[in-house]
Amino acid sequence: MGKVKIKKKETRIDMTAMSDVTVLLLTFFMLTSTFLQKEPVTVITPPSVSEEKVPDANLLSILVSPEGKVFLEVTGSKDSTMKSETVRADLLKNMVAEYKKTHPSANLAFTNKELETFSKLNAFGVPITKMKEWLNLETDVRDKALEEGPGIPINMNEDPNNPNEFQMWIRAAYNSMNPELQEAMVKGRGIAIKADQTTPYSVVNVVMDNLQTMKMNKFRRNKIWQLKVKVVRKSSIPVSTSLLWLT
């Protein structure tokens, strides 16, 4: 009887195709994505049918936490003409000048190092008198202090001659050395309000009222369309069928 010959199988697999694919995937991710920005509060913005995108340059975002804390984020232009870092450093200098108008005796001065630290931060929101102390903290302690801190002081104030700190920041941003941001604010695409969907209207109203007082009446309401939400909304609002009852 002849023996059945069992073929010895090759145990090695050709990996070339797989590594090709992974390199492609990697390039895809590197090119298409942007890094997540650190934000002091997690905000789930409400879904909407609007398809307008948030501008990614020359924007002052007002981040409103559900509890009513207010933080600010500032971005400069996309190209290198007005970098975010320059805009932010100017903003802080302007803010000091604004604050001294109503508090002439305040002892506010920032060193170049502190200005540099400030210019690298994406979001901020501490009372200006605590700013110096906050900037000199270690990075992770600083993030925690921002999260647990009170945010930018804000109250109902309709007197533009006696602005609160939030209004001073808005004015400082408007007067910053960046003509592009100024123009965007005038045209109504420079300010975005980003609030959590559970935020009570009383909180949002304070922010809007402050902007109305500063005559920054045109602004964007910011929200994120999560992919999931988009699908749900699309199937739940069939605009064409909802028109049927009329015809």
């Binding site: 995937l25 909407s48 995108k53 980003k194 609030a195 009570p200 994120i224």
Partner: protein, 208 residues
């Protein structure tokens, strides 16, 4: 190695871009009576959004009530619970429920909505141009002209919200403006007459 890098990028980056909605608010300055934009009574619709606060002081986006009235508030017989304010369920944002306010707004904006529907049909059949992009842009321009056509009967919607309403409520009512092609709307502050009417309407509905 490659896999590690891919995982890193997937965790640390985002591809979602936020979307926005532009609104304009009236100024806080005192405006002289003569300079105020007067709205025809027959065109005005006031919508008031009310929400419900949860125990932790946040507003629940799934619980909400809408109140609306046409023209001026009618308060001559308010003590007996009679006014022209009506109460409806919010309906929006609850996963597919039909927003009740849409019917009301479409009824008020009938002329524009019908014209836009006709226009949409032509756009679907590519009547403006065989080129998709040109077709789109002509449609957009024509739709805008219809929305702003002053010969048509168009409502002016005044949106008010109580402090308990959530941000999500306000955004979904603003969405309704877009869906129903309403070109004139404004956010305003709630006043005493509105809240008095709301209390009376709610009390009356509870009795039923």
């Amino acid at each position: 190695m490659n896999m590690l890098l891919i995982t890193f990028f997937m965790l640390c980056t985002t591809m979602i871009k936020s979307q926005t909605l532009q609104i304009a608010l009236p100024t806080n300055e005192k405006v002289e009576k003569e300079q105020q934009n007067k709205v025809k009574q027959s065109e005005a619709v006031t919508i008031i959004i009310d929400g419900k606060l949860t125990d932790n002081g946040l507003s629940d986006p799934n619980e909400g009530m809408l109140f609306y009235y046409d023209g001026m508030p009618e308060t001559s017989n308010l003590a007996n619970g009679e006014s022209n304010m009506k109460q409806i369920e919010f309906g929006a944002n609850t996963g597919g429920a039909y927003p009740a306010i849409r019917e009301i707004l479409q009824e008020r904006n009938k002329e524009v909505v019908l014209k836009i529907a006709d226009l949409k049909k032509e756009w679907k059949d590519m009547k403006f141009s065989k080129n998709e992009e040109i077709n789109d842009s002509i449609y957009q321009a024509k739709a805008k002209a219809i929305r702003n056509d002053s010969t048509l009967k168009r409502p002016v919607v005044i949106i008010k919200a109580t402090p308990n309403a959530s941000y999500a409520h306000v955004v979904s009512v603003l969405d309704e403006m877009q869906i129903n092609n309403i070109s004139r709307y404004q956010i305003d502050r709630i006043n005493e007459v509105d809240s008095a009417m709301m209390i009376m309407v709610q009390a009356k509905n509870l009795k039923k």
